[in-house]
Symmetry: C2
Subunit: 141 residues, 2 copies
DNA sequence: AATATTTTATTAGCCGGCTAAATAAATTAT
DNA sequence: ATAATTTATTTAGCCGGCTAATAAAATATT
């Protein structure tokens, strides 16, 4: 009963997040925020809207994350001149530095750890199967 | 970049939770609470401590979930006579009914949907690989 | 018996995630 | 021009998850 796919994935996700939190504590960040910063770093001054798409998260979530990251000095929010509705977000120096370090110390580290003893074929297979699962569950109904 | 194992698992987990929330809304429950109820149903009058073990979750989380489920009439909390520290939790009628229905309408439904177009071998393989991932990531360091 | 330690639960507070409702600005239609 | 609609963000409120600090009861020590 404890080895359903759902349960395993939930469990992995939880442990992954906790490990992320541990690793990110050194930067005063929480799991999820590193992805936010990395996305902004790659995408340049991004719109909130663009962020919700890239991060695949609700606008409300983006707003609050940006708010906290701004409060802690990782990024700035500026209203666009042309369209006063849109808000552009960009990294501060602190944010840039954190983002660039974090990708290696957290993301890659965890990713490697997850599949450390798997053959290349197994990794490919696992990825394929997970993509299939995601596809299956994303459909309507 | 979007097809790392970490990202896929996080994404599946999120969609899974959202689908769960949709299905559970009919019972006035949220994703996670169904597991709580199911666990209590199987285990009888359980201790908070036992629940943290079975649900693999923090004591704080169990306390608050129990509090909410009690508030909404799904379960009762009773202090143990022998040891006044321990709290035993048991399902109300409402809780029992919800739990028994939910297992089919939510859990199994989602589980089947996730692997619907996979062969038996693929399912077994996926499970094995996920268990390996969980093992890898659970270790210290 | 009196004190110290361990065990069980709770509380407070912080995060990310979501929904639904509210703002506000830009478009489009009338 | 004015009204109606669409689009971009925000706000409020609810969930589960975690950590750290507290409280309270049971055990172990001295």
């Amino acid at each position: 009963m404890c080895s359903t796919i759902s349960h395993l994935i939930t469990q992995i996700c939880k442990v992954h997040r906790n490990k992320g939190n541990q690793l990110l504590a050194a930067y005063n960040l929480h799991a999820g925020q590193e992805q936010f910063l990395a996305t902004v770093m790659c995408g340049g001054a991004m719109t909130m809207n663009e962020l919700t798409e890239h991060l695949e998260v609700t606008p409300a979530t983006v707003t609050r994350m940006a708010e906290r990251l701004e409060k802690n000095g990782f990024l700035n929010k500026v209203k666009c001149c042309n369209d006063q509705r849109v808000v552009r977000v960009s990294l501060t120096e602190k944010g840039t530095e954190a983002a660039s370090q974090i990708i290696d110390t957290t993301w890659n580290k965890l990713e490697e750890q997850m599949v450390k003893n798997m053959s290349t074929e197994e990794k490919i297979l696992l990825r394929r199967l997970l993509m299939q699962v995601l596809d299956n569950i994303e459909e309507e109904k």
